[in-house]
Symmetry: C2
Subunit: 317 residues, 2 copies
Amino acid sequence: MKNSKKFVGIDIGGMTIKGIVTDESGNVYCRDSIATGSEDGPASMCKNIVALFTNMLLATGLKKTDVVGAGIGCPGLIDSAEGIVVFSGNLNLKDFPLAKTVAAQIDVPVKLTNDANAAALGEAKFGSGKEYKDSILVTLGTGVGGGIIIDGKLFEGGKSAGTEIGHTVIESNGYFCTCGRRGCFECYASASALMKKTKQAMEDDTSSEMWRTYSPQTVSGRTPFEYADTDHTARQVVDWYVKYLACGVTNLANIFRPQVVMLGGGVSEQGEKLTAPVQRLVNKELFGGTEFAPVKVVKASLGSAAGAFGAAALFMN
Amino acid sequence: MKNSKKFVGIDIGGMTIKGIVTDESGNVYCRDSIATGSEDGPASMCKNIVALFTNMLLATGLKKTDVVGAGIGCPGLIDSAEGIVVFSGNLNLKDFPLAKTVAAQIDVPVKLTNDANAAALGEAKFGSGKEYKDSILVTLGTGVGGGIIIDGKLFEGGKSAGTEIGHTVIESNGYFCTCGRRGCFECYASASALMKKTKQAMEDDTSSEMWRTYSPQTVSGRTPFEYADTDHTARQVVDWYVKYLACGVTNLANIFRPQVVMLGGGVSEQGEKLTAPVQRLVNKELFGGTEFAPVKVVKASLGSAAGAFGAAALFMN
């Protein structure tokens, strides 16, 4: 263990900060977590990050000099070149020099990126994308997030403010989005959108089998998939969802033409029930067909650990 | 003139092949053109490229050894790494090693890229994008094409098969597109789409002022702009067009966050009549607002010369 370089990855969530100690092969030497504590202000949150870092060094017996760097993935608009959180609604931060603040306290180099970008880099280095140079992660959670890897490197867009793939319009007069636009990919392909559509479908069809186990109060992203083979209404919901998801994925594929698109987030737990029909539609709609430059659709493999892995990978090259 | 390195750019169109001799500052030493002649097969087309190249050397008095390289922009699906035209419907080519074939005849290094990508690189190096590192060209012609420049370099997507920005869906149950999808950006923001909408509006409103000068047979992309200040129907057409154009531009801006989006092609001749309202909508819809990373919308400046300039720039770094 002492022979390989070590990397720390830190993934800041709304409730919990996750940490990992890994190496360039993705071996895990330690996993830990701590409460985010952003409600008590940025200083308190930084204290928690430092405590997490210190705990992981203690647990692994590593010295600071064994660690190449600590990468941080953070929700919100990030200036990665400067290590600044420009704005994070979740964490109540504005123009906060997170990288500098933490680096000064842990005495190890710190890099910062957006949490979705970190997750994409994690999957690309150690997850479903590890065999490919160009990959895209699309996370299907409360919103639709993700990140883009070009030629093995994280692409963050100009001033690291791009790759807001959930906020590209696919239905120009469609649902209102939290971002102010209408018809964003996120309004149709997020887990929240799927749940909303499922509730609506149940209320419109009270004979649906989905009512056997669920009420509109207890539905989840799993509900329509569970009944799709036997219930027409559940099948319609799944088809609706797959169609929109495939639409957004094909848009990204026609722009980036990656070798692989990885689906992450809660809905991706459906595995092939989701990836297979999305792959079929992408193949059908991909510009110029699939012969010259096919695009695979797969399930992301690292789950909620992707962000911490990717944060650590900010120091690998 | 003899002191600076010279670069040849060749832009293959359906009817005409354009050529240019330039240097790293964009000085033009020669412009010329020749018929494409692809109807007589690839050998004939290559003969024309070689003749164009030879004519330009004669006109400038340059020797082959004065030329760093000859870049070619070609419509269709291009394997730029291999210099192969994988497929070009316009030119009736399939798996044709264009770069190798031409290089063998002119005895100068040849590089190949897609013609829209070449135009984007030309605008980025010598046109409206020259002050910016990250730019996107959106050409509004028969279709919607364009190209993407990231950190000063042409981004072609995986296997150089990406950046098909016209074939991203913005209206998921919308108009049928030639690519097989429905609701592509191209179906709403191309000059053809604008003309179709104008004709339809004239037929629906026979009192429109547009009838004073035009019939549905004579409308062009200029027609609605010409009457937009005084005629309600013309204004509605322009607003419809601007809304969709801004939608697609904002999608690209949210993904790439470039410093500038350049509008090219026939419709862009409207200048500020087009760029100003598109800029307003982009500013309104840009993710996270315009403060941290604004995106300018400008008219592309090189017109039909962009492709040849960009082809030449394939050898500049």
